[in-house]
């Protein structure tokens, strides 16, 4: 374990160490001073005892005459018996009889010394003061020689304070050494305690930090039942709950993300400040076809950067009836606001966008949405909701094409029906206006016109009915076993006269193998008849038409090939629409109903056949029907 000691450790350690050091220091100081005092008392008692003993020894020879004796005694006792002890004999008048250190004869009167005065008065005295004689601080002890009414003098013993201190120094050094060792031990103990107490806290901190860093697998080892262990257990519980919540949120977000990204509609959501909040892949495909960036890279950008179209920018940024602030205060109010404004705020625009798959017609719808408030701007009390704006882009290219075809159908049908009808009306009007004398030929001609045009109308209405029956899928077509060769032969027979009239060469190739299929003979007939009719119509006199049938892997293919005018590439997709006729067909002499191929398509779909078209202008056309076997 890498030992990274935190502040908490140092706090614990320093506090413990300080307390121990203070306690130790105070105890050592108290013990040492007590010891000093005790020694001091002991010493002065000792000095008194010595002084009293000396007093007994010198009592009977204590006078000036025996000063030399006393002086010798003083020097003997002072120098030999006690190192550092000074002995002085003083007469009651202050005259020094003998001294162990100095020459007694040269010494001044000692009558004014406080210990001597005390001793003379009370029998004993003590004082600590500066000695001029030996130039040291001294502790003086004096004992009176003689009884109270016959005072002879004073025996004074003194010891240098220095030597007293020197004596206690050893004891003191021992105490300090002991104190030092104890402080060291205390520091080690404090360190160990601090380590022990701070470790769980440090582990908790590390776990909490890794949780906040997103690692929800971090667990704390909990030992014991104390407060720290309780904290650890709470942390573990919190982690589990958090992990569950995060999982839930993550799952919801992923569900939402995948739903939004799979939508066939483009979705763009912007907040009140005009920043993109959400955008899906479909919207990017429609709006930024050249940029292959991910959805996330657009989030947070401004609407203007993402939407290159002014109308869409307006839709997304300008809500109808938006309050100026764009902020709604209470949630309930916000819901009402959103409900109300959903209807009012919805705006629609239809526009063309050029995307990777070509020009698309897109219906853009924008409406207000309530977004969760921005953390940075919301105050905690009012759960303020932000009103953003959502843009829904629906690709209506196919729909608008269908609508166009429907609109065209109505217009075309009425137009196509009116043309023969007006011819008929004109003929009938002429018939009305001419009198009986009229030419029989003329009348026959007019009747012929009526006949021809009413026939055309009938054919057209028949086709329309057939078409609607096919498209609605209500008609029932029973499948029977038919031979491809037979079907072609029937077609050949029914169109023989028309082909002969246009002097078209007409070849049919059927294979020797069996090309039977199970399908609706009626529908197959309708398809082939329409294709052959077209081939005959658009093939000029002297042209060539080939019919063939061949076996394929899973199908039988019928082919109608002509050497007609061909169909331009732009028209190839549209010729299967109702009433759609290419320019030549519309203006040429041999116009049809414009419904033939539009019947072929649903008929082919009904029998599961696939139509293939190959054509080149001026060369001819080949239509192939693959009918499943």
């Amino acid at each position: 374990m890498a030992l990274r000691l935190g502040r908490y450790f140092w706090k614990l350690f320093l506090a413990n160490a300080l307390v121990m050091a203070v306690v130790l220091a105070v105890s050592v100081w108290v013990i040492v001073s007590q010891l000093d005092q005790f020694r001091q008392e002991e010493l002065s008692r000792h000095l008194f005892a010595q002084a009293s003993a000396l007093e007994v020894a010198v009592r009977d020879r204590f006078d000036l005459a025996r000063a030399a004796d006393l002086n010798a005694l003083a020097k003997q006792v002072g120098s030999t018996e006690h190192e550092g002890v000074r002995v002085t004999f003083v007469l009651a008048d202050g005259t020094v009889l003998g001294d162990s250190e100095a020459n007694a004869a040269e010494m001044e009167s000692h009558a004014d010394r406080p210990e001597i005065q005390q001793a003379l008065a009370a029998g004993s005295g003590e004082s600590v003061r500066w000695s001029h004689t030996v130039a040291k601080y001294m502790d003086y002890v004096a004992v009176r020689v003689g009884s109270g009414d016959n005072t002879l003098g004073v025996v004074r013993l003194s010891m240098a304070v220095e030597s007293i201190a020197a004596l206690s120094k050893r004891a003191r050094r021992l105490a300090v050494t002991m104190a030092g060792v104890s402080v060291l031990a205390a520091a080690l103990l404090a360190c160990a305690l601090a380590l022990l107490w701070s470790r769980p806290i440090r582990l908790l901190t590390e776990a909490a930090r890794s949780i906040s860093g997103g690692d929800l697998s971090a667990r704390v080892e909990v030992v014991g039942t104390d407060e720290v262990a309780a904290l650890g257990r709470s942390l573990n519980e919190m982690r589990e709950k958090l992990s569950t919540h995060v999982d839930t949120i993550d799952r919801q977000r992923r569900t939402l993300d995948s739903l939004v990204s799979q939508l066939r509609e483009g979705v763009v959501v912007a907040d009140a400040a005009g920043r993109i909040v959400l955008v899906n892949a479909e919207a990017i495909g429609m709006l930024q076809p050249t940029q292959a960036s991910s959805e996330e890279s657009y989030v947070g950008k401004s609407v203007e950067q993402f939407l290159p179209h002014h109308k869409l920018q307006n839709l997304l940024c300008e809500s109808a009836g938006r309050t100026s602030s764009g902020e709604v205060t209470s949630p309930a109010q916000a819901v009402n606001e959103t409900k109300r404004s959903f209807e009012e705020s919805t705006q629609e625009v239809e526009l063309r966008l050029s995307t990777a798959t070509g020009d698309r017609t897109v219906l853009a719808r924008a409406f207000d949405v309530r977004l969760p408030a921005d953390e940075a701007t919301s105050s905690s009390e009012t759960a303020a909701a932000q009103v953003g704006r959502a843009l829904l882009l629906t690709d209506i290219t196919e729909l608008s094409k269908v609508m166009q075809v429907k609109a065209d159908l109505a217009a075309n049908a009425s137009h196509e029906l009116r043309t023969p009808l007006s011819a008929i009306r004109a003929a009938v009007d002429t018939l009305h206006s001419i009198d009986g004398k009229a030419d029989a030929d003329q009348i026959a001609q007019l009747i012929d016109v009526v006949d021809r045009h009413s026939g055309r109308m009938e054919a057209m209405i028949g086709d329309l009915l057939e078409l609607s029956r096919l498209e609605s899928g209500t008609g029932r077509f029973d499948a029977v076993r038919v031979s491809g060769a037979t079907v072609l032969k029937e077609c050949q027979e029914s169109f023989a006269s028309a082909v002969a009239a246009k002097k078209i060469s007409w070849t049919i190739s059927t294979p020797t193998e069996d090309v039977s299929i199970t399908t609706s003979a009626a529908l197959l007939g309708i398809i082939l008849r329409n294709l052959i009719e077209n081939a005959i119509r658009f093939t000029p006199t002297g042209g060539e038409i080939k019919l063939s049938v061949r076996k394929e892997e899973n199908a039988v293919a019928f082919e109608v090939t002509d050497t007609g005018c061909g169909i331009a590439r732009v028209d190839q997709d549209r010729i299967f629409e109702r009433f759609y006729q290419v320019e030549q067909a519309r203006s040429g002499p041999n116009r049809g109903t414009g419904l033939g191929l539009s019947i072929v398509r649903p008929a082919a779909a009904a029998i599961g056949a696939r139509i293939e078209l190959e054509s080149a202008i001026g060369v001819g056309t080949r239509m192939t029907i693959h009918v499943p076997r």
């Binding site: 005009g274 401004s302 609407v303 203007e304 950067q305 939407l307 290159p308 179209h309 002014h310 109308k311 920018q313 940024c317």
Partner: protein, 225 residues
């Protein structure tokens, strides 16, 4: 700079980008009105030009206000300068679109027919250039900005082609001179729009890199000095 200033600057940039796409829209409508001789669309273009004019004044005064109040430096100052210059170009582009729409009001489809294809191509190229320039401005994308320069030459070539065609036709017959002049005016305006789009792209490069790419020689010379 203060957050307040940053917000104001961002609002202004967005406003300018919005104006840019409004202008793009107007140009598209102008092109359509000319090609389809659609009079009501032409009226709409002329009407929407007023919005551009209003917006131009608002943007310009906001630029000046921000410059005076906050005395920006560095990229902020460059952005304000670029917005100011692009603002001017956008307004001129809208004016060109109005000129085209005014031609469209009394043009007939037949008069267009010989040059219709070239005008269509020119219109597409110019709109592409403008869209790229505006996209570059919105996203501060130097690469997109540079792509406009090459297209400008293409537009110039188309413009020359139209002039040649008109000269040849005019020499052949003096009939329909007025219509031919209309076509010429439309082409001229498209060419101008392309020039303004190039200016915008240059300003975007200045905005993004601080380099002045206009008049290549002059800038190079200044650097040498």
């Amino acid at each position: 700079m203060t957050t307040h200033f940053v917000n104001l600057l961002e609002d202004l940039r967005r406003r300018s980008a919005r104006m840019a796409s409004l202008v793009e829209d107007i140009v598209q409508e102008a092109c359509e009105s000319v090609l389809d001789a659609n009079e009501s669309l032409a009226e709409r273009v002329i009407e929407r030009d007023n919005d551009v004019d209003t917006e131009e004044v608002v943007v310009e005064s906001e630029v000046i206000r921000l410059m005076a109040l906050y005395q920006p430096v560095g990229s902020d100052l460059r952005l304000l300068c670029a917005i100011l210059k692009i603002n001017n170009d956008l307004e001129r582009i809208a004016d060109c679109a109005v000129n085209m729409a005014e031609r469209a009001r009394h043009m007939n489809r037949q008069a267009m027919s010989p040059q219709r294809d070239v005008i269509t191509e020119m219109g597409l190229s110019v709109r592409d250039m403008l869209r790229n320039a505006i996209q570059a401005f919105a996203t501060e994308d130097v690469e997109i900005a540079q792509s406009t320069f090459a297209r400008d030459q293409h537009v110039d070539a188309l413009y020359e082609k139209i002039i040649k065609q008109i000269v040849v036709e005019g020499a052949a017959s003096s009939n329909g001179m007025a219509e031919r002049l209309d076509v010429l005016s439309v082409a001229k305006n498209l060419e101008r729009i392309a020039d303004h789009a190039t200016n915008i792209a240059e300003d975007v490069i200045f905005l993004a890199t601080g380099e002045i790419v206009r008049h290549g020689d002059v800038a190079a010379k200044m650097k040498q000095d």
